[in-house]
Symmetry: C2
Subunit: 256 residues, 2 copies
């Protein structure tokens, strides 16, 4: 478990897919462009813009347990997660850790800090083997000064995140552990299920229970106890990381 030296590599031109103008069709560049075309922030951009963007993008892998950055590290761009899971967390001086978010493929992180030109306030660590993109600050800023629509998307993204975070603050301060867990299960189910579901459904926890407990501001022990309370009430069944919700309507009603 060591720090990925992605930030250093950023400054080395050799590692970038740097293609002389007029001949921008190296295989790496093309495949990178294909990846980029799928990220929501960039959709709507022309091929040319994507291609220009790609010059500031680096694809890389990280093994399970690697720390991408620590609190206090300088920020040279933001990350986009292609595959795997990553936790964002802070650690108190006495070693306690609080997970803020568990990132999944398609999520990006680190934008806010990048825009403020400040060091990271949280740390990021992979929970599984991962494949990511690192998008350098300068190409983002260039595109921003060129394209108001791109700005709009960034603004929409930041607003969304602010919204989620406020919802988190609300649940942390207004709901007890049991309700936070139920709320989490319901949201998790909602993410998977395409349509509104009824009756019996199953949810698979994205990672180990300790991490999820921390995400919900609980200890692992308390999380375990609440889960078993819910089993005793006949609301759920637990099979390793899979939670079977016996009757989702009844679970919803048991809130509040």
């Amino acid at each position: 478990m060591h720090t990925v030296d992605c930030l250093q590599r950023d400054n080395s031109p050799a590692s970038q897919t740097d293609v002389p103008p007029g001949c921008e069709a190296s295989p790496e560049h093309v495949s990178l462009c294909r990846l980029l075309a799928h990220i929501p922030l960039l959709n709507g951009l022309s091929d040319q813009e994507i291609s220009r963007f790609a010059r500031g993008v680096r694809e890389f892998k990280a093994e399970k347990g690697e720390v991408l950055f620590h609190r206090g590290d300088p920020c040279h761009g933001f990350h986009f997660l292609l595959e795997g899971q990553i936790k964002l967390a802070f650690t108190s001086s006495d070693g306690h850790e609080k997970v803020i978010e568990i990132m999944r493929p398609g999520h990006s992180f680190g934008e806010a800090v990048m825009f403020m030109d400040k060091p990271y306030v949280v740390m990021a660590q992979t929970l599984t083997d991962c494949r990511l993109l690192h998008i350098a600050k300068n190409v983002v800023f260039e595109e921003m000064s060129r394209d108001p629509l791109f700005c709009r998307k960034i603004i929409a993204g930041l607003s969304q995140r602010l919204h989620h975070l406020i919802a988190d603050v609300e649940t942390y301060s207004l709901r007890n552990g049991r309700d936070r867990i139920i709320g989490y299960l319901l949201r998790e189910e909602e993410m998977n299920g395409d349509q509104v579901t009824q009756g019996r459904v199953s949810v698979r926890l994205p990672t180990n229970k300790g991490t999820i407990a921390s995400r919900l501001n609980l200890t692992q022990e308390h999380f375990s106890r609440v889960l078993h309370d819910l089993i005793d009430s006949g609301l759920i069944e637990v099979e390793g990381r899979t939670i079977h919700i016996v009757d989702i309507e009844r679970l919803r009603d048991s809130l509040n």
Copy 2:
């Protein structure tokens, strides 16, 4: 204590300082422009841009205790606080209230929700008589599509807010009540004092203790108890809403 009907008025052209082109110098318009020129988000804009902006801005007053908007109300723009204090808070179904932020002159709020085109998730209530500006969505969006620098400022503002909120989540989850209060006093002092201060300093609480307690995720009673613990430890003295910090260095050291 009733809801200000600002949102309705928004749609009535008569209430806007609507001046025919080429003759934009009504006294209200001019004084509004003068106000706008001072708000950080708009500085750097030309007189013409400010003037155009002013057409979507409405100045208004609200008495102590008025609710500007409730959770669930539609959002037609954002607010800028000129004078007074306002709390942003959410309320749980069982009547409990959690204050998220106490706004002071120069702060703005409601941008994120405006950009997402969603109803408010929090409520806003004045703590004192207030004077505010309401900036309509459409002029913001217009200016955004015109001016990337303006976008940059909005992005910077949102990033900043995200940053603060994350810091809040950190203190809520990693620090106990005593440390949250000490941290609050130190930050409050920092805001007032121009240079780094030493020794004895005084801080005046911006509003009543119950509200501040809620802002720090504490009950009024617990807040009171901690304050008196700190008095017993000789760290502070309390005189109504004024807290005298006996020795700020010692208070800092008592953290952690």
